[in-house]
């Protein structure tokens, strides 16, 4: 099992009418890897993630997530993954504890287990004082940390993060990445999209998507060397400039 | 001024891009007009009558024939006396008319036989009306018998009713003005309150407020599309009413449209007022539904005559703008009166509109201050 990749994509494609949002992408993500999925706005990142998480049916190609086919075993896929969407995913009229217990409950955690886990989590996030506050009263950075913790509460093998640090200050972003590394160290595969190129440097491997295709794939060091640039940021600008869609 | 024009154009785009809402906004008046024109009648018609005839003589049969001939009644065959209760419970009949044994003989002998009329009085209106029909049918039968038998006609007063303004008693004539009021309330007040609250909820109101647009311009710009929509709706309803349903417009069309315009302004002011007091769409919607639309349907005289309501409700009805609007519109359309007959009601509407406008402008300013 250890050798089987966590995610396999082979020619995965999604068309909306005549528009090809994701154009035959292929890659593999190894278990325990932190995989950065980069691209300009509109490059097709979110569409790809939605296909891998079973929210959207692909129109072509194949993909397996945690060994399950995204066409035929959607529910099995869902049991093995966690997801934190670009849009806000917690209920702002429920408290921190209620949100944790709600999502944990949906994934079938037992009552005692749930109690213990939510207690641990609140303690680890250092939020004992806010455990019974409404989510809407908390600053964005805190909410994002809670949202991430909720996404991995049921101990999934893979977690998908769609721009988890958008709009968050640098210090909180740093803390957020500490959480990600902590999970990766436990063997969880992390699939993350981001706009921050400094974050890309934290990943084991990154891919850069332009106009629905993957234009570059490899570890940050390899990519920089291969394209003769100093940073992932330079590489990104170099590739994205060739694209026709998006505003980057 | 240029910024203002751009803003108004943006508002129009907003509405015209939301196809579903647009279809409903234009479709609703038409469908409701059709329903009121073709389907809904508040007069009692085709009431099922069970006749239990223990006499089976020519008198009882003659009266049954008369009942059958009435366009208001429909005789259901085959219901016996013991079946009446079950028939009522299952809604198979609403009235049972029972003729006693030896009905005709007793009548001739002058022994005053009794016809029993049992009504399903759960609906008192139907019960009363049907009783009146049956009484009338029996009455005319008696007069006829007496006349043909050559006996002395009893001296009596005969009532000759004339139905003024709506001789055929068509419900649609009554409903059209109410429908105009309802649609205008819906489009102007409800839509306006929701659209402004929505802007607050999403947070775009702040952006508008820091723009060079003045608060007054923002509000006018927001309500402009609804003003246009409502005018289109009024014209649609009036055209349908007069062309398809032959509802008369006896008074001045200019006056009619002017009064509609006044009511539109009144409703818009109400909508703005609500939006200054609420912060979420759900609340704005519930307040508009319960505070505006319901009273417009119930307390305005749209369906139920205000005069029949208990005193407290009649007092409440005075603050429902639609009540005054209905008196005005019915006066102009159906009775053909001019301003001399409805100036008081018009003044009340003008007064209400002023109050709502002032209140909403103040509400808006207060919000800006803090």
């Amino acid at each position: 099992m250890t050798s089987a990749p966590a995610i396999i994509c082979q020619g995965l494609t999604r068309k909306f009418g005549s528009f090809t949002a994701v154009d035959s992408i292929s890659f593999e993500v190894a278990q325990g890897e932190v995989f950065g999925f980069l691209g300009a706005n509109g490059a097709g990142k979110t569409t790809a993630i939605r296909m891998l998480t079973g929210l959207l049916q692909p129109t072509g190609g194949q993909a397996w997530v945690a060994g399950h086919d995204v066409y035929s075993e959607v529910e099995a896929v869902k049991r093995s993954i966690g997801y934190m969407s670009q849009r806000f995913s917690l209920y702002d009229d429920l408290t921190v504890r209620e949100n944790i217990e709600f999502y944990g409950g949906i994934y079938g955690l037992r009552k005692t287990e749930l109690h213990q886990k939510s207690g641990d989590l609140i303690e680890r996030l250092d939020m004992e004082a806010e455990a019974n506050s409404m989510i809407r009263s908390l600053p964005l950075g805190w909410r994002q940390k809670i949202a991430f913790s909720v996404a991995v509460l049921h101990e999934p093998a893979i977690v998908f993060l769609d721009e988890p640090t958008g709009g968050v200050d640098p210090i909180t972003r740093r803390q957020f990445w500490d959480l990600i590394y902590e999970k990766a160290a436990q063997g969880v595969t992390v699939f993350v999209t981001t706009h921050y190129m400094d974050e890309a440097e934290y990943c084991d491997r990154v891919s850069i998507m332009v106009d629905g295709r993957i234009e570059a794939l490899g570890s940050p060091a390899e990519l920089k060397k291969g394209h003769g640039v100093d940073s992932i940021n330079d590489l990104f600008v170099l590739l994205a400039r060739g694209g026709k869609r998006g505003d980057a | 001024m240029k910024a203002f024009r751009g803003f108004v154009i943006k508002e129009f785009f907003h509405i015209f891009r939301d196809r579903r809402t647009l279809v409903i906004l234009f479709g609703m008046p038409i469908i409701q007009m059709m329903l009121f024109g073709y389907a809904i009648r508040n007069e009692v018609q085709d009431v099922q009558v069970a006749v239990v005839d223990w006499a089976h003589d020519s008198a009882s049969e003659a009266i049954t024939d008369r009942l059958e001939a009435s366009r208001y009644l429909q005789v259901v065959p085959g219901i016996e006396h013991q079946d009446i209760e079950r028939a009522f419970r299952r809604g198979e009949a609403k009235v049972a008319v029972t003729f006693p044994r030896n009905f005709e003989r007793d009548l001739i002998l002058g022994e005053s036989p009794t016809v029993q009329v049992i009504t399903d009085a759960t609906d008192p209106n139907t019960a009363n009306t049907v009783l009146a029909y049956v009484t009338a049918a029996i009455g005319t039968y008696q007069i006829e018998v007496l006349t043909t038998s050559g006996g002395a006609r009893p001296a009596s007063i005969v009532l000759e009713p004339r139905m003024r303004f709506n001789p055929e008693l068509r419900s649609v004539v009554l409903f059209v003005p109410g429908l105009i009021a309802l649609i205008l309330m819906l489009v102007c007040a409800l839509m306006t309150s929701i659209t402004i609250t929505r802007e607050k909820e999403i947070g775009t109101m702040e952006i508008l407020l820091v723009s060079p647009l003045r608060p007054g311009q923002i509000i006018v710009g927001k309500v402009m599309p609804y003003l246009v929509l409502s005018l289109v709706n009024v014209v649609t309803i009036l055209l349908l009413a007069s062309q398809v349903f032959l509802v008369p417009i006896r008074g001045s069309l200019t006056l009619l449209l002017a009064e509609c315009f006044l009511f539109i302004i009144c409703a818009l002011a109400l909508g703005i007022f609500i939006s200054t007091r609420t912060s979420t769409q759900q609340v704005a919607m519930m307040i508009s539904l319960a505070g505006l639309l319901l009273p417009t349907v119930i307390l305005s005289g749209f369906i139920f005559p205000v005069a029949s309501m208990p005193a407290p409700l009649q007092i409440v009805s005075h603050i429902v703008p639609a009540k005054w609007f209905l008196i005005v519109i019915r006066g102009i359309m159906i009775k053909g009166v001019g301003l001399e007959a409805i100036w008081q009601e018009t003044l009340v509407l003008v007064g209400m509109t002023t109050v709502f406008l002032v209140a909403s402008v103040r509400g808006f300013n207060v919000r800006l201050a803090d």
Binding site: - | I138, I157, I303
Partner: protein, 364 residues
């Protein structure tokens, strides 16, 4: 089951935490019930009228006294001028003008019929008809007083189920239906679309929740609230309006449960179909207005044309109003409402199937 319980707990928390919604849920329906029940009446009392008495005899005065004494009429000023009377009618000061011709007493004495003309403001045709029937009743009484001939056929009316012809008795059961319906349908219509607008629906969709669990958990809170409101409404109906409750209340609640499934299914279907709360509300409002207008609540279904009566077969509100009136007022048992129950059952299955099918965790 556990997953459903977890979603349920969350839904209830959210409902009861929204301060603005609580009064809407529990106070508004009560006010509606009270106002609607008192306002919705076709009973006509104290119709203002003007009498033009051209006879000025004992008989004509007796007739006027009779009118004045009845609860149905209220005589304003008397006038001899037809023009003045017409003006009063036009300006809406009176609803009826009665003209008693000169020679009334003389002609009656001579055994000749006399025509008394009444002109009614028939803007509201139904009311005009009712006023006319009251006038006829009074004239008949006067006729009986002055008649010398043999007594003819006697009519013995008996009004079953509602002997005092109370309008509220008739309206309250129907209005109860309306309350339960409005709350249930509107709230369920807004519910899922709200999660769409906020974005939390995505998060739910990547969880292994089953579709039926989601739908059940979304419907159940409003089902429970609807049943609770019906209970409160029935208590008010009994205490305030003294509505007779002849039939089985168990049957009422059982069928209400079935009916709520139809309306909640409809609300949920609307919710899954639309993108914003505003849209959801409009679609719900639009359907609701049509259903209510064609439900027989305010105007009799019997008076509708054939085609509209057939359309009514597809109207759940009409069926449930009929059920409520029959059970509560007439004491109907299950066997008396099987047709309506069957219709509701079919509609419930249909609506829920539609709602579950329309709710897709994955977009194709």
């Amino acid at each position: 089951m556990r997953i459903i319980a977890i979603i349920l707990r969350k839904e209830f928390r959210q409902i009861f935490r929204n301060r603005a919604m609580l009064p809407i849920l529990f106070v508004l329906p009560v006010i509606q019930l009270l106002v609607l029940s008192y306002a919705a009446t076709f009973e006509v009392r104290e119709t203002p009228l003007v009498v033009i008495d051209q006879d000025r005899s004992e008989t004509s005065r007796a007739l006027i006294a009779r009118l004045d004494a009845s609860l149905y009429f209220q005589i304003g000023e008397q006038t001899t001028s037809m023009e003045e009377a017409e003006r009063a009618l036009l300006f809406g000061e009176v609803d009826m003008v009665m003209t008693i011709p000169s020679g009334l007493e003389r002609d009656l004495g001579a055994g000749q019929p006399v025509i008394v003309q009444v002109v009614l403001d028939a803007e509201d045709g139904a009311t005009a008809g009712i006023v006319q029937s009251y006038a006829t009743q009074i004239i008949n009484q006067v006729n009986a007083d002055i008649s010398l001939g043999p007594p003819g056929i006697r009519i013995a009316p008996s009004h079953w189920y509602n002997p005092n012809l109370e309008y509220t008795t008739f309206m309250v059961p129907g209005i109860l239906v309306l309350l339960v319906t409005i709350i249930g349908t509107f709230l369920s219509a807004m519910n899922v679309v709200r999660e769409k607008e906020i974005g939390t629906i995505e998060q739910l969709n990547v969880t292994p929740i089953k579709r039926y669990q989601f739908v059940v958990a979304k419907l159940l809170p409003f089902w429970i609230i609807g049943m609770a409101e019906l209970g409160v409404g029935l208590v008010i109906a009994k205490i305030v309006f003294s509505v007779p409750m002849v039939g089985s209340l168990w049957l009422v609640f059982a069928l209400a449960g079935l009916y709520l499934l139809v309306m909640l299914g409809l609300g949920l279907w609307i919710s899954t179909l639309t993108d914003t709360q505003q849209q959801a509300m409009f679609v719900a409002w639009f359907l609701m207005v049509i259903f209510i207008l064609l439900s027989g609540l305010f105007t009799p279904i019997d008076s509708m044309p054939r085609w509209a009566q057939i359309v009514t077969e597809f109207n759940p509100i009409a069926h449930f109003i009929e059920i409520m009136r029959r059970i509560l007022l007439k004491g109907a048992g299950f066997q008396d409402v099987t047709r309506q129950t069957a219709a509701l059952a079919i509609q419930a299955v249909l609506m829920l199937t539609l709602a579950v099918r329309q709710y897709q965790k994955r977009t194709g």
